[in-house]
Subunit: 302 residues, 2 copies
Amino acid sequence: MSSRPLPDGEELRRLVDRAVAASFPERPYPERLWESMLYTAGSGGKRLRGSLVLMACAAAGGDWEKALPAAVAVELIHAYSLIHDDLPIMDDDDYRRGRPTNHRVYGPAIALLAGDALQARAFAVLTAVENGAPPQVQLAWVRELAEAAGAAGLVGGQVVDWESEAGRWEQEERGKVAGRLEFIHRHKTGSLLRAAARLGGVAAEAGEETLTRLGVYGSELGLAFQITDDLLDEVGDPAGTGKAVGRDRRRGKLTYVTLFGVEESREAARRAIERAKAAIEPLGEGARRLLELADQLVGRSR
Amino acid sequence: MSSRPLPDGEELRRLVDRAVAASFPERPYPERLWESMLYTAGSGGKRLRGSLVLMACAAAGGDWEKALPAAVAVELIHAYSLIHDDLPIMDDDDYRRGRPTNHRVYGPAIALLAGDALQARAFAVLTAVENGAPPQVQLAWVRELAEAAGAAGLVGGQVVDWESEAGRWEQEERGKVAGRLEFIHRHKTGSLLRAAARLGGVAAEAGEETLTRLGVYGSELGLAFQITDDLLDEVGDPAGTGKAVGRDRRRGKLTYVTLFGVEESREAARRAIERAKAAIEPLGEGARRLLELADQLVGRSR
């Protein structure tokens, strides 16, 4: 059904890179704003979210090229959330992916506004007449992404995360803290991965059952991904993440590792990956790439 | 054609207030995030943008009640932009509408995130299945608002405004500065007013010519509104705006008044209002309320 087969991981990453870059205007004004937007949105990274959109579309039997606008939009939302996360009034981070953070280059005001503009741009990209997607697909995309990016999704997770900073959680009951931590991970990271998988399904015009399966996959993958990130902070490697080892623990930050320790966290990640894989196994051969992605991800922290 | 006639200005304002409040969930989580969102979005103000959506819908021959989701969405975008504008990394304002600004109450991190969530929420409100708007109207709404809120609209205007702060413009060639100032006003304020008017027209399923007329009206109204704001800063009254008189001038801020003086600014506002009214006069009796609104607005600074 696909016009051409789904490229492999590295080619897929480059493809998302190119699609993001191509979504920017040629002679942008105000220049500095667009430059700041592109500084983060165009700087690559793993492109996990964009690639996931394309893989999920293929898994649902669709032509992955039709999912490209959604892949771009999800990456723009991700980029905006990174910029705002790093701001001095949030985590106050100086480096990301081995480069100075957006606000270190453009100043916090422009960085703030670049994030705001990237969010609006995501919805513009999804609904552009020239992106070729049928109206009902564009509309379903917006519904999914607006929900995932908002207070009931990504931002909700960030708020609970923010409120759990700085060791206050250490005085609370462990079961309650564990529930909150899962909420954080499922929302801060899980919401957007869930949306990415579902957006791919929407591009393939998949039915509700397939969308639900893809959504569960994305959500569990997100949980596993975030636990793995917590593990990488504790056990290394700094070259890969660009962050110092043990930083979360020293900051008293609530993470799987600071709450459960390394072994129990590894087990939790493994279980989430199993749930992710189980959800999409019924999709058959088309879902092979998603199964491989899940296995790769859990291998990151070994 | 309307199910009931368009209420008068004060009733319209209250109606938008209620629609915004009703768009919030009953048991929101995380509570503090939603509280922060509602603190600004629910705090009223003139509701110029939301009212404009409804008036424009009626002017285009539509049932204004059908435009309510768009009125809410435009107010949510406006609220987010106010929150971000007031942040310590932007204008660092402590008061707005006579109350402490969002970040003074909830802290800058939550305020930042509340703004982010309000923007996402605007697109969710526009596309909610239960809002009753036909799919093609929802989709056209998203296209209009995403464009108006982004780098080519509202945010673009804010960036150029930000870069013009602090007296640097005083050394530049006057014609160039005047062009830039018009760009700021037409984008920072004009984009959202233009979108508000067009969104109302879209709700009425108006044709391209009517949408263009409404758009010009909104854009010119926005320019006049912003010039009037500049005038109010210079000539008062502090009770109405909640700001001290002459603040822009002392800060070396680029405004119509600091660049052209009071008389020339009044003339510029008057001309913009004339252009606004001329654009919609062909719409006939339905546009009467828009004509009145334009006249009221120019009266503000007399």
